[in-house]
Structure formats: structure tokens, C-alpha cells
Symmetry: C2
Subunit: 150 residues, 2 copies
């Protein structure tokens, strides 16, 4: 490349992800907390539990999905359990495990909050996005960050 500045499309895209995340996290956290009394990360925690096989997840598995330290999960679950959104369940085979499960009212609250998240997500793409745009964009994201549960 003889002439000066290289066009760093890759780093532009990565910085774009960082920026998009900051903006969306800001917006969603505020609304979810105001309307449903749940932080965005609490919603995600409960959503991963709901979607897990058997609707239960150990603390470490939850930590992997949330990309946080297991100790953070321990701490996040305390208030959620106290207000009756989630419960703790032991494993019959392995006494180390402490599963997180959803209580009935937790599931109810999660579904309401997730409906809000859906509406807000639709708003993000409201202008100038076709359904194919959105699905294509999502599939590009899946390439970058595939679900790697384990």
C-alpha cells in the first residue's frame, strides 16, 4: 500500500460494536429498570435460565453466558432470590451445584420485561431496516460471537 492511510474497516467495525453496545445498554437499562424494576443484566440472567435445558443453570454456566465472574453471579442472585424472582435448587448427584431456577412470579416478570425489550429492540431498527436487513445483521453478529455454551 503505497499511499498513506490504510482503511481500517475492521477496527471501525469493532469500535462500532463498542459504541452500539454502550448506547443500547444505556437506553435499555434505564427503561427496564424504570418499568419493570429489573436491571438489564438481571433480565439477561433470568432469560438465560429460562432458555436453558430444564430451565435451570448452575452459577458457573450462568457466568459463562453472561461473560462475568462466577462471584458476580453469586452476588446478583442474592437480591433476585430475596424478592422471589428466582430460587436455588440442589443437584441430586453433585452436592457442589447450586442451580438457579425461575419462580412463577419470576417467569411472569421476565416475560413482561422481555416484551419491553422486544419492543425497544424493534424501535432500534424501526427506520430504514427491512426484515432481511435485521436478519442479515444478526447473522453477521453470530459469526463474530457465536453462542458458545459449555
Amino acid at each position: 500500500m503505497l499511499n498513506g492511510m490504510m482503511t481500517d474497516s475492521s477496527s471501525n467495525a469493532v469500535l462500532g460494536i463498542f459504541r452500539a453496545n454502550a448506547i443500547l445498554e444505556e437506553r435499555f437499562t434505564g427503561a427496564l429498570s424504570a418499568v419493570h424494576g429489573l436491571a438489564l443484566k438481571e433480565l439477561l440472567l433470568m432469560l438465560y435460565v429460562q432458555r436453558a435445558p430444564g430451565s435451570k443453570l448452575s452459577r458457573v454456566d450462568l457466568a459463562k453466558r453472561l461473560h462475568v465472574n462466577p462471584s458476580t453471579v453469586t452476588r446478583m442472585t442474592l437480591p433476585l432470590e430475596k424478592i422471589g424472582m428466582i430460587a436455588r435448587e440442589a443437584d441430586a448427584r453433585d452436592a457442589r451445584l447450586a442451580y438457579v431456577t425461575l419462580t412463577p412470579s419470576g417467569e411472569e416478570r421476565l416475560n413482561e420485561a422481555f416484551a419491553t425489550l422486544n419492543r425497544m429492540s424493534a424501535d432500534v431498527f424501526q427506520d430504514r431496516w427491512s426484515e432481511e436487513d435485521i436478519e442479515g445483521f444478526d447473522s453477521l453478529l453470530q459469526r463474530i460471537a457465536p453462542h458458545s455454551y459449555s
Copy 2:
């Protein structure tokens, strides 16, 4: 919609952004800190300064770009100034302003670290991405999160 589950492509995409951000932030923070002794957010702070008109930015403008509270900028700049990466500059007209500028060695370090970020960004898209894919993806991100300086 008569049949059961709606396909929430919007929320899938939003959750995908959250996940991609978590993975990339994790990966980049580790490498940048190990190789250049700069946290990802410190690099971004310095990058925004470098790219600003006049290569200087007030604390509040920096806070807007970084999507953090101004107090966080105050605190982030302290160690960076102490190790000689940035400097503080007053404004001739407005005594309230405290600009952040790059020192020569700060600029040097920034350029090295940014080169690493470029390489790592290219790695993110290494497989199965054409240049057009990347640029298209970036332009979709720009729609979601346009640069809104001020």
C-alpha cells in the same frame, strides 16, 4: 399472528450486539493491557483525544464520546497523566475547561496500541469475511449508533 412464537429478529440482533461486545471487550482488554499496559478504555480515551479537532478534548466531551460519567473521566485521566501519556491544558477564554491532550510519548504509545487493536480487529473478521462484508457490517452499525459528538 396465529401460530405461537413470534420470530424476534430485532431482539436477537440486540442480544447479539451485547454478546459480541462482551467477547470483544474481554479479548481486547487482556491483550492491550498485557502488551501495552493500557486498558481498552484508556486506549479509547486517548484515541478520541487524538481524533478530536485540535487534538484536545474537555472532560465532558470525552465523557460523551466514551458514554461514561464525567467523574469517570476525571478519575481515568489521573493515572494517565501521572505516567506521562496525557497532559492538562487550560482554555484561554473559559477557565472552567480542562482539556486533555496527548504528550509525545502518549501519542507514540497510542499509535503502537492502536496498531495492535487493528491487528486484533482484522483477526475478528479473518474467516469468511470479505472486505465488503466488513464495510457493510460497519455501515449497519453506524445506523444504529451514529457518532453523535456534542
